[in-house]
Each structure stands twice: as structure tokens, then as C-alpha cells.
Amino acid sequence: MANAETKNSCGCWITDLLAGKEDVDLSTGKIFDYCKGCPDLEKLKERASGRRTADTTIAILIDKLFERIHSCRIQLVDTASSLRKKLEELSLLNKVTDHLLKTDNLERALALVLTGVTAGDAFGFNRAAIFLCDLRSNSLRGIAGIGCATIDEARKLWMQFDSGRPTFDEALERIYNSDEIFTDTFHHQVWQVQIPFEEEDNVLMKVLKTQEIFVLKPGEQIAHLCPQLDNLADPAGFVAVPIATDNLDFGVLIADNFVTNKPVSEDDILSLKTFANTAATAFENVGLHNQLRAKLEELKHTHDLLRENQSYLVQHERLADIGKLATTVTHEIKTPLITIGAYTRRLLNTFGTEKFNKEHLEVILHEVDRLEKISSEILDYSKEIRLEITSCDLCGIIKEILKILGEKLEDYKIGVKTKFHDRQVIIRADANRIRQVIYNLIQNAMDAMMLKGGTLTISTHTEQNYTVFEIEDTGEGIKQEAQEKLFTPFYSTKAKGSGLGLSVSKKIIDDHGGYIKAETERGKGSKFSVYLPGLKSENQPSEPKVMRSQNE
């Protein structure tokens, strides 16, 4: 404007024009501000009026033209400034959208939207809050708020920032760098708000239902429209817009200018609506993302399960193959073994009178018997067991076995204790198979106490629907590495074992629908507990079918 006083020396277009200059630049708006009322222009006009009528008309026209140009310019300046504001809003919206699209976290998404609404560098509401539908409590609940609860608080906060109020970028930094995003008192107040869906007259519920924007009109009382917002929205003016996509209603966004008291303009409302739409899309994304993540977790879990099952199947298939091979080989070995053994026995009967022969033949026979026993165990293990279920007395079976082993137990210096919970313990089971299991377990207990002697304790009791018998020794206990493989076929810690005793026992008990449990402590001994299902008294023998169903 300084040029206005020294226009003649500043290259005024009129002077230039009068001087006959041809390349006069008329594009800069500045020229017109001081040309109006310029003495040179008056001179030009006078010069024109003194001459011809046409010139006068031209002079008036020019005058009017200047008036028009001037008013257009003012409009242009207005439009430009409003465009600039729109551009700022758009770029902010763009920024928020950009960040929103990248977030899969609801809290962060909320913070981004609220920061966008309240950040100082765009339409900057003083504070904003979001309420979301909560289907569990059937209410609209306050979820998050950004802004200050009181004017003093706002002033204090804004003092910290260069521009008076935090810009979007400054606020953004806070969102990404702090563990707890929402710490404002205002937020905690918003958090308390709960508006039941039944409160149909409540203004926020109306916004949610009608999907129409609400602006507080002068003279309206917030307490009447929405009592819950009495201290949270500016009675001088606040706006509430719905957050929704085509598919889903999420909730309501409210904003006001309680510090600056800037009136809420139409433009502000429209921008807020745009923001709310973006927020809705973001929330939908977050929801979808979370669903996807849950599905992914589920899939991963299923995948793990499948892989586990597959490796289990592969292992079983391999074991089955080994089993088949073992059966074939064992059978091939067993037949000649029988022949060898039978002939040895015959020789023993014929020539056994001579001590020397007898001893040698007995060695052969002993080894053959051992091989025969192992091969029988292998053949037994690989075949399917058909149980012949009858009612039998567990105590009887145990006593019978102890009688057979009596001499050996004495030799090993093993004392025997029996604790039966009843005089007779009747079970529904395949007596021969159970005998095999008990025999095997006692045999193992004896092996564990072979060197030092000890106490063998056999007890029975009932537990829920199971009849339980326990065989406990005071032997060496089982080594850590052996414990895991205890029931694995062909695994043995004994020099002479087939490694099938416990796995056969387990199979038999499994087939009965029961289970077998081992507890052991190094140096103190081991305890094997066998659980057989179907606790029945003798007068009510259970059908095998019942056992089967418990089995499944």
C-alpha cells in the first residue's frame, strides 16, 4: 500500500498508458486499490469529458468497471480464504484418514478422529467426544473424549504449545508415543456417560436413530435434551453428528467450542459430518480387522491341531507297519524255536540223567523259553484283543498271583502288604487279561527291588466310578528319561525285557475303558495305579454295553 502515495514514481499503469507504453501489466490486483480516486485517472476522465460524448461515456464506464472489479476482488479474497480453510480441512482429513487406514486399534482410531476434530490447525473444535453403541448393556456409552473439562485447564494446556493450541502433528505425536492416550479429566467424565437405548427422547439417541445432525439452538437447555451431557457440552452451542456406515450404526460424535465460544458454522457442521463418516469407516475397518485376526488365530489353532494329529497319525501308521513286520518276523522265528525247544526237552528226557548233559541242555532250554516268551508277547501285542468280560474278584486274582510268586518274593527278600477295601472286590473285566496286567506290574515291582529287597504294597479302593488297584514298590524308582517312554512298545530298561510288558498292560486297560497311571520317585520307589471303570456290586452285574459307552 506504501506505493499509493508515490504512485507516479511507482510505475502506475495510467502514467504508463498515458506515456504510450504498450506492455502495461494489469494482472496485479494491487493496482486497482489506489487507482480509484487517482488524480491521473481524474485527469484522464476530464480529458475525455472535454472532448467527445463518447469519451465521457467511456469514462463513466471505466468508473463503473472499477467499482465492479473492486467488489469482485473482495469476493475473491473471501473465497480464497474460505478455500484455503477448506483445503486445510481436507488435508487434515486426508492425514487423519491416512493414519486411520493404518490403524487396527480402536483406541488409536478414536484418538485420531477426536484429534482431527480438535486439532488447532483446521476447524479446531475446542473439545470432542465419541459415544458408541454397546449391545451388551443396551446403551450408548461414552468411549473417549479429547479436550479440557474447564477453561483454566485449556489455557494451561495451550500455553505449552507454540501456536497456542496443539496442532494435529503435535497431537499425533502424543497419540503414537504415549502408553495411555486418554488421560484428560474430560475423557473420564465422558467415560461415565451411559444412555440406555430406551431413552428415545434423549437427543443423542435421536441423532443415532434418525441419522440427522443436531445443533443446539439458542434458548434450548442441554439438561432437557440429554441430562447426561449437562456438564460435557457447551450450553452456548454444541453439535452432535451420527457415526455410521451403510451397514452399521456405531454411535455419535459431539463437539463444541466452550473455550473460544466461536459459533459453530454450517461449514464446521459439514466438515464434522465428513469426519464422522471417516470415523465410521475406520471403526468398521478396526472391527473387520479384529474379526479377521480372531479368525486367523482360530485358523492357526486349527492348523496346529491338524499338524499335531497328522504327526500322531504318521507315528501310528509307522508303529502299525513296524507291528506288522514284527509279527511276521516273530512268527517266522517262533516256529523253529518251538522245534528247537521241543527237541531239547526230548533230549533232556533221554540223556538228562548225565549231569553234564543235563546242565548244557537246560541252558539251551532256558534261553529258548525266554525267546519263546518274548515272541509270544510280541504276537500278543500286535493282535487285537477281544475281551471276554465276566464278573470276577480282583482280590482273588491278586492273591492267586501272590501265591504263585510267593517263593520268588521270599528269595528276593520282598515283604508283601495287601490293603483291600472290601473282602471281595468284584469287577466286570476279562479276568485273564487283568491277571496278565497284575502279574506284569508285580513282576516289574519285583525287578525294581531285586537287589535290595523291600516292600510290595497292593491296595484297592474306589474313586468316583472307578475301581482302582495300586501296586507300589520301594525300589529304585524310574529314571526321568525312561518315564516318558514307560508305555512305549519295545522300550525297555531291562537287559532281558521285550519292552512290551507295560505297553501290553496299558493296551489291555485301555480296552477295558480304564487307564493306568505311574508315579515314581528316584530312590524311593514307584506306584502304578490302574483305574477300571464301572463300579458294580455283584448283584447288579453291568452289561458289557455299558462299559463300552463309558469307554467312548
Binding site: 518251538i338 522245534t339 521241543a342 526237552r345 526230548r346 523259553d369 509270544s376 493282535k383 477281544r386
Partner: protein, 122 residues
């Protein structure tokens, strides 16, 4: 003392069975395959038949069992097998005894004596 017919495809084992059972005082005939054994069945008319189940180059013991029992249900049949698996095959139920083959012949001898002594064919 009984007439005993044995079908066993292990020649040495068969020989041993024959010897041992003869020593027990039985009248014994042994064959390595089922068809030969069946040919002798009517004429020899054994009280007890001992059958191996798995027979090479021959009808299996269970087939022979059915044939023996259909000709004369009073003929006692003992199945003598290395497997205990066959116990679950229903055909084995028509046999009078099932023995898991062992180098110890005591069980076999006892069963033969028991079935022979109670035979209605004697």
C-alpha cells in the same frame, strides 16, 4: 490210548509229535498237508485230530477242521497254533480245544489224553 491224526507242516516238529505221542502209547499218524490227512480220515477214524492252522501248500487248519467236523462231529479236534489270534475267529469255536504252540508238549499231551479218554468213538 487213542488214535491220533496230526497235520503239521513243520516236518521236524511233526516227527517229534509222532514220536512223543507214540511213546505215550497212542496210535499216531502224521501228515504235512491237509489233503493227505483228510484222505486218511475215514479209514483211520482217529478219536483226536491235532491241526496246525497255518499250513503251507495246503488248505488251512480251519478248513480241515470244518471238513473233519462235518464228516463226524464226534471226532475231537485240537487246534495247535503259534498264534493266539485265531481264538477270535468264530470257526475256531467248533474245535474242542485251542492250544498256543509251545516247545513244551505237556499242555498238548494233557489235552489229547483228556479228549481221547472222553471220546464217544472209543
Amino acid at each position: 490210548m487213542s488214535r491220533i491224526l496230526i497235520v503239521e507242516d513243520e516236518p521236524h516238529l511233526l516227527e517229534l509229535y509222532i514220536d512223543e505221542l507214540k511213546e505215550e502209547g497212542h496210535e499216531v499218524e502224521g501228515y504235512a498237508n491237509g489233503e493227505e490227512g483228510l484222505k486218511r480220515l475215514d479209514e483211520f477214524a482217529p478219536e483226536v485230530v491235532v491241526l496246525d492252522i497255518k499250513l503251507e501248500n495246503s488248505a488251512g487248519g480251519l478248513e480241515i477242521l470244518k471238513e473233519v467236523k462235518s464228516r463226524n462231529k464226534n471226532t475231537r479236534v485240537i487246534l495247535n497254533s503259534a498264534y493266539s489270534t485265531y481264538k477270535n475267529d468264530f470257526t475256531t469255536w467248533i474245535a474242542d480245544a485251542y492250544i498256543v504252540k509251545s516247545s513244551d508238549l505237556v499242555e498238548l499231551k494233557t489235552k489229547i489224553k483228556e479228549l481221547g479218554d472222553s471220546s464217544p468213538l472209543m
